[in-house]
């Protein structure tokens, strides 16, 4: 089967899948509708301070699985909805950042620096339009890079990497994630070690389930949903509730804004911001392709790079941080271009790079029939590889979401400004109950809720101690695969205990893993001295 055939099959899987309803005898396929609904929900969620895309993805997943079931037909509608949320939340985060100086998502913080001064100057709508154009451009660029790179990277991995090299690559990825996320390599390693330890409880190859302390409940292991939702979502809600508990008496004035003068984005404006968008899109895509490096860093780098260029090229214009449209463009293009590129390690290596990617892997894992990783991109001769059709279906979904973004995203962004008025202290307890309910309906046992509370406490403590929970979650997801690959590699090399070092490529990966830890330790130490 040729690439073109798979592209056609992928597009057909999206547009000729099961119909949701019919208009005048013509069936309306379910997947595009789910992408649209997810995208609109994502914008609303992103525009609500206190909520985030991963939260909405986590809560939606069990409902989606209940609607669509576990059949192969379920994968594209479910993933379409989740990808829609992921993309929508990125642009939605800019809305409160620009209108009310409150970032809806952490990566929109830099957007406040120029967005809010523009609002204060009466240019709120123009600022939103610039954010939208920049975000949609960065996102589209990033998706094109994903579509071009992921299959080639996967084919390279399958062609050149055997079991020892794949084991070493997993170790390198974990070492990289533990080193680059957060402010401390030590804390990253502790977080990763805890994630590995948690996933190894109650599992193993022996008849006796390991590390169970004699408990039958632990013998089944921790369900993946309790660990991920507990540490990522419940831990964050616990922390946010405490912050609100301390701040509840602080009087909060309801923000408002007025618009003055021309709010259109003219061709001249686009020409001015285009170089900043292009530069930031490249920065964001490069950063997004590295697992674990988030959109906040991309936004910061995009802003800093753009700021330097602007100060040199246009010293007389409004500078970054004082209401420069170029500042919004640099930030929004950078943070939006992370989302597509973040799926490069997911689809080509099976390694999630951020929280949103974690939930996409969780969805694929829950539904079955699609295991993100290099084996997806096997171009079989004669028969059809259904996973490859799904992969091209996902690419189609991403481009469809971009189409929605370009056409209706901007308009919808401008109407969700009211989301900031939803009181956080009412929203968070409801989100907490919703998350516990989502966990229970998936697992159908009370022990899952107790585990989720335990993981929530762990996530809370991690946040209070300045430790990122993401290495924990990614190690939890990859731990089983790491052990399985290592067992197979050990057996395939005839019980060679040094299999990670006797093979040249594996040895290079291991050396890189040590280097990235040592290098990160040194670079973090320098500012502290």
């Amino acid at each position: 089967m040729e690439v073109w055939t798979y592209i056609q099959l992928g597009i057909a899987a999206v547009f000729q899948g099961p119909d949701l309803f019919a208009i005048a005898g013509f069936g309306v396929p379910v997947t595009p509708i789910m992408v649209l609904l997810g995208f609109l929900l994502g914008i609303a969620v992103g525009a609500t301070p206190g909520l985030a895309g991963p939260m909405a993805m986590a809560i939606s997943l069990p409902i989606l699985i209940s609607i669509f079931g576990f059949s192969p037909d379920a994968l594209l509608p479910v993933m379409g909805f989740l990808i829609g949320i992921m993309k929508g939340a990125t642009i939605g985060g800019a809305v409160p950042a620009i209108l009310f100086n409150t970032p809806g998502t952490p990566d929109a913080y830099m957007t406040t620096l120029d967005g809010y001064p523009m609002t204060q100057a009466g240019k709120a709508r123009k600022a939103l339009k610039i954010a939208h154009v920049s975000s949609a451009s960065g996102d589209t660029f990033s998706d094109i890079v994903l579509i071009l790179c992921a299959p080639f990277l996967a084919v390279l991995v399958e062609s050149y990497l055997d079991l020892p090299e794949k084991t070493a690559l997993l170790i390198l990825s974990l070492a990289f994630i533990a080193s680059v996320i957060g402010n401390s390599v030590g804390k990253g390693l502790i977080s990763m070690g805890l994630g590995l330890l948690a996933v190894y409880i109650g599992t193993g190859e022996d008849f006796y389930p390991r590390l169970t302390l004699g408990s039958q409940t632990l013998a089944q292991g921790f369900p993946i949903a309790t660990a991920i939702l507990g540490v990522l979502i419940i831990g964050e809600v616990f922390k946010s509730i405490e912050d609100l508990w301390h701040d509840h008496r602080r009087a909060q004035k309801r923000p408002s804004y007025t618009e003055v003068g021309d709010q259109h984005v003219h061709r001249a404006d686009l020409r001015r911001i285009a170089p900043y968008i292009a530069r930031s899109a490249v920065i964001g895509t490069a950063i997004g392709a590295l697992p674990g490096v988030g959109s906040t860093l991309a936004a910061t780098l995009g802003f800093t790079t753009g700021s330097r260029r602007h100060a040199t090229k246009s010293p007389d214009a409004t500078q970054f941080g004082h209401g420069a449209p170029e500042g919004i463009a640099s930030t929004e293009a950078a943070n939006s271009s992370v989302s597509g590129a973040n799926l490069i390690p997911v689809l080509s290596l099976g390694i999630p790079g951020n929280a949103a990617a974690v939930f996409l892997i969780l969805a694929a894992d829950s539904i079955g029939g699609f295991n993100p990783g290099p084996s997806v991109f096997k171009f079989t001769s004669g028969s059809i590889n259904p996973e490859l059709v799904m992969a091209f279906g996902l690419f189609t979904i991403m481009m469809l979401a971009n189409l929605f973004n370009w056409t209706i995203g901007g308009g919808f962004m401008r109407v969700v400004g009211y989301m900031i008025h939803i009181p956080k202290h009412i929203l968070l307890p409801v989100v907490l109950l919703l998350t516990f309910t989502a966990i229970y309906v998936q697992e159908a046992r009370m022990s899952a809720i107790w585990f989720a509370v335990g993981f929530g406490v762990l996530g809370y403590l991690m946040r209070r101690l300045g430790m990122s929970p993401l290495p924990f979650v990614i190690a939890f997801i990859l731990g089983g695969k790491l052990e399985e690959t290592a067992r197979q590699a050990f057996a395939a090399t005839g019980g060679d205990a040094w299999f990670l070092f006797t093979n040249p490529i594996a040895a290079v990966f291991m050396a890189l893993a040590v280097t990235v830890i040592v290098f990160s330790t040194r670079t973090r130490k320098e500012p502290a001295q």
């Binding site: 401390s184 070690g193 190859e205 390991r210 405490e242 309906v441 046992r445 057996a491 502290a528």
Partner: protein, 183 residues
């Protein structure tokens, strides 16, 4: 009170101690196979290797953290944080206890001799626990944040729990709200 790098050092010592305890105590005592196993003259990786490596990561992380300098983003854990956590866990335990036992208690009192297990998919018995537990959870958390209990918080709890029942229970026969999956 802990501050900055003191918290880091305490965390580092805890991590190193935990890693030693896991690697020397827990893993050898609670796994049946060792680091490597010899089965029919073939050497394979045992179940103890992976968790031992996990403990080594925790220990190395602790060591690196111990010698790391202070940074503004270090984070702090105060006694007030632990007090909040205890209060929060108390509220969750109370809510989940109500969620778990309110339905069976209602059936025992008014269920005409039926067992809860027999009625766990029958309205209104199947939603009594979730409704009461969910309402208490939401109302008590809002009251905690606002610093006082209020009718408004209770009303929000009632509305939100009811909406979640409508969202999960009414349209899907295969979804079971807590505690109906394992009673």
């Amino acid at each position: 009170m802990f501050t900055g790098s003191t918290t880091n050092r305490a965390l580092a010592i805890f991590a190193i101690a935990a890693a030693l305890l896991i690697a020397i105590g827990w893993v050898p005592l609670d796994t049946d196979t060792g680091i490597v196993e010899k089965v029919r003259r073939q050497v394979t990786i045992g179940d103890a290797l992976a968790p031992t490596l996990a403990s080594i990561f925790i220990g190395v992380g602790g060591l690196l953290l111990f010698f790391q300098g202070a940074s503004p983003a270090d984070g702090r854990l105060r006694l007030a944080n632990l007090r909040y956590l205890a209060l929060l866990i108390g509220l969750l335990l109370l809510s989940f206890a109500i969620m778990r036992w309110a339905g069976p208690a209602a059936v025992a009192l008014f269920g005409a001799g039926e067992s809860y297990a027999a009625l766990r998919t029958t309205a209104p018995w199947n939603v009594i626990g979730y409704f009461l537990g969910g309402t208490i959870l939401i109302a008590s958390l809002i009251a905690m944040i606002e610093g006082r209990p209020s009718f408004r918080a209770f009303a929000i709890g009632v509305v939100a729990s009811s909406l979640l029942i409508l969202l999960y229970d009414l349209p899907f026969d295969d979804l079971l709200l807590p505690p109906n999956g394992d009673v």
